[in-house]
Symmetry: C2
DNA sequence: CCAAAAGTGTTCAGGCTACACCCATGT
DNA sequence: ACATGGGTGTAGCCTGAACACTTTTGG
């Protein structure tokens, strides 16, 4: 039996800007829409919020359903409420952004010929609804946060080299960084554990692998420590 | 005639954390609820979003209706979507925070014996719903933003002294600041115009009045300038 | 042995911190 | 005259920026 309300209500959705990094470029995960409106267009993963689930639950469910991703870093981004953003009816969308370790997670996007696919952020196809705006907002937020919170690690494999980390920063922030200064500063935080492992991946000296220690960061944060790059 | 939907929908509200500063304390504007639930309790101003208005429009309308405030600095804060945050039914609330020049605006809270009233942020009464959480979130955001964006001026009168500005920073951030260093830095930004006026308000030397120049800030921001205190 | 990325210290300049006294006014 | 907040300069320290060569490996 249909539900009745005295006044018309906006519908509520969640959408996620899922970022990944593949050692060369920043990428975003998009879904090809199977239904109208914007049928056949690419869009951010997302969908309607059920009446008995929190917003966070809704994003996680949609991500799992549409992309196979789970246990990713998630943070609320902004809520988009323009009246005409959905041509059908009034739809308010709570946008999140997610950071994914592309190398570790084997997303559905990689495996089958599905309707989920990674695109370079710098070269996305036209997007449905106002998703280009949402993506842009997510990108700005990522750039802002990367500088003063240790979230870059969420885009790298569990074990990574300092060069990988530096390339990530250079790519996302769009600036060149001095190698020696970068290492000095990052290691100075004492948040990385140097492992007894190296990666051997080419005709050059192997690089020492490191791992981020989140527990240590939490402890330092409570003492008023500030991460900043 | 009532509206029908195939699935039950969450209701959508907006709430605003309205901050003011009265030269001594940081304050927040609260409304005494006239209706159940939480009848008689204090709550953040806010209300239901109409199906034909944007979220921003909804906050501004509610602020005007409930507190008489208009033309305040407004920014979206966070969207709260816990399932049980409203005991009646599922209600998702998009929270905003607002900064008000208490001295300039004569709010309804000041004038009549209304149900709107300013409280010190440090000593609020028990709040309805999850509004204590929202207030806390707003406070953290204000503290964060104050340091790297010139929004403190939104809490001061159009013309203010450097001491007023410093006291604002000290109060909100909860730290003592060296007078000479503060003035050097603030004036160094070249965003304040010294006026040919002083305020005379006690048995001591009158202070020079200043005015913030937003246009200048916009110009500098485009050139990659960073405000930071 | 050559190409390619990893790794490593020092110097300099500019910004931040700490700090103490005189000034203008009202009572 | 005194109490009260307004206003001002400098010196040491520390942090951030610039900068070049050696090391280790694969081919």
């Amino acid at each position: 039996m249909p539900h009745q309300y005295e006044f018309p209500r906006a519908a509520l959705t969640v959408d996620a800007v899922v970022f990944g990094f593949d050692e060369a470029e920043l990428k975003v995960l998009l879904i090809k829409r199977g239904l109208a409106p914007f049928k056949g267009r690419w869009a951010l993963p997302g969908g309607f919020v059920r009446v008995q689930e929190t917003l966070d639950d809704a994003v996680r469910r949609e991500l799992e359903e549409e992309t196979g991703l789970h246990q990713v870093y998630l943070e609320q981004l902004y809520t988009f409420g323009e009246v005409k953003r959905d041509p059908r009816e009034r739809v308010v969308s709570v946008a999140y952004y997610a950071l994914v370790k592309m190398a570790d997670h084997s997303t559905r996007a990689a495996t089958d010929a599905s309707d989920a696919q990674w695109f370079p952020v710098a070269a996305t196809p036209p997007l449905a609804f106002d998703h280009a705006t949402i993506l842009q907002t997510g990108l700005e937020r990522l750039r802002g946060k990367l500088r003063y919170q240790p979230i870059g690690f969420e885009l790298l494999p569990e074990k990574f080299t300092l060069s990988q980390l530096q390339h990530l920063y250079e790519t996302v922030l769009g600036t060149a960084i001095d190698k020696r200064n970068f290492r000095k500063k990052v290691l100075g935080f004492d948040l990385l554990e140097a492992l007894d492992e190296t990666n051997r991946d080419g005709p050059h000296r192997p690089a020492q692998l490191h791992r981020f220690n989140p527990a240590k960061y939490e402890r330092l944060k409570k003492r008023g420590f500030l991460f900043e790059l």
